[in-house]
Symmetry: C2
Subunit: 132 residues, 2 copies
DNA sequence: TAATATATATGTCATTGACATATATATTAA
DNA sequence: TTAATATATATGTCAATGACATATATATTA
């Protein structure tokens, strides 16, 4: 449509992208942003608290979580610092950034769109039943 | 938990499986079952009508559609027969089976569960906003 | 005979994430 | 001292999925 198309930054905040989830994407990113939105946390804790997040899909594997956190840090959605633990090995504590908060809002918007679509689907499904 | 666990047939109709969608799965199967539920159709027609289905995700690629139809026939969700066209090459016309209708109902149930989860997520997101 | 629309199908490849394993620290039990 | 366990982060490897490109074939139109 418009001359030149979208710039990179626009695409990154494009609701459509998050509605689609990209190829094969689970909800790992919104899960992590959701948990970090209220308080910083390290990976292990995020993994333990993962089931608190009401999103569909299986709980992501630990490897996927750590890799997602590093990718999200590269993208500027979270920042991290090493911290000593009262006991056990050091922890890498992640904190959500303003960009991460914006991304979570984009996810929420996309999910609102999903819900509307899915509800239309369900309506059409049940209206078309009328006996087997 | 229960002795023996689930039998194969049970797993195939387990709502949880469809709520998760499996790794990387789009909504190709429910899209096709939804379109076929009202009338038989051949692959090319299903591809053209794909955007009628209110489900999230990009419209599936033609290759994915034909492969999905064949896989679904193996699974007994659809049956097919070759038919002459008024013009152009022969068509493989797919028809939904009783098993396919049941599968679509399982999908609908799973999607109802998804919607409930997603709505809880949205509520928690907006209740936790309280200013940027 | 060339191009286009219709129609089905396969080849190939990158992405994703599941599963397994590696590495390291601290605590507790033997 | 050693072994086992909980905590904590990270990498290796592989199968599944589907995106993109292409192949094959028929019929119509230019």
């Amino acid at each position: 449509m418009g001359a030149g198309g979208k710039k990179r930054g626009d695409i990154l905040e494009d609701v459509g992208v998050y509605m689609r989830e990209g190829p094969g994407k689970r909800f790992i990113e919104p899960r992590l942003l959701f948990l970090l939105r209220s308080a910083p946390a390290h990976g292990y804790e995020l993994i333990r608290r993962m089931e608190e997040v009401p999103l569909p899909g299986p709980l992501p594997d630990t490897g996927a979580v750590y890799r997602a956190l590093r990718r999200m840090e590269e993208e500027g959605l979270v920042s991290s610092r090493w911290a000593d633990a009262a006991a056990g090995p050091r922890r890498k504590v992640y904190r959500i950034t303003p960009r991460g908060r914006r991304r979570l809002q984009v996810w929420a918007e996309a999910i609102r769109g999903r819900v509307m679509l899915l509800q239309r689907f369900l309506e059409l499904c049940s209206s078309g039943e009328e006996r087997g």
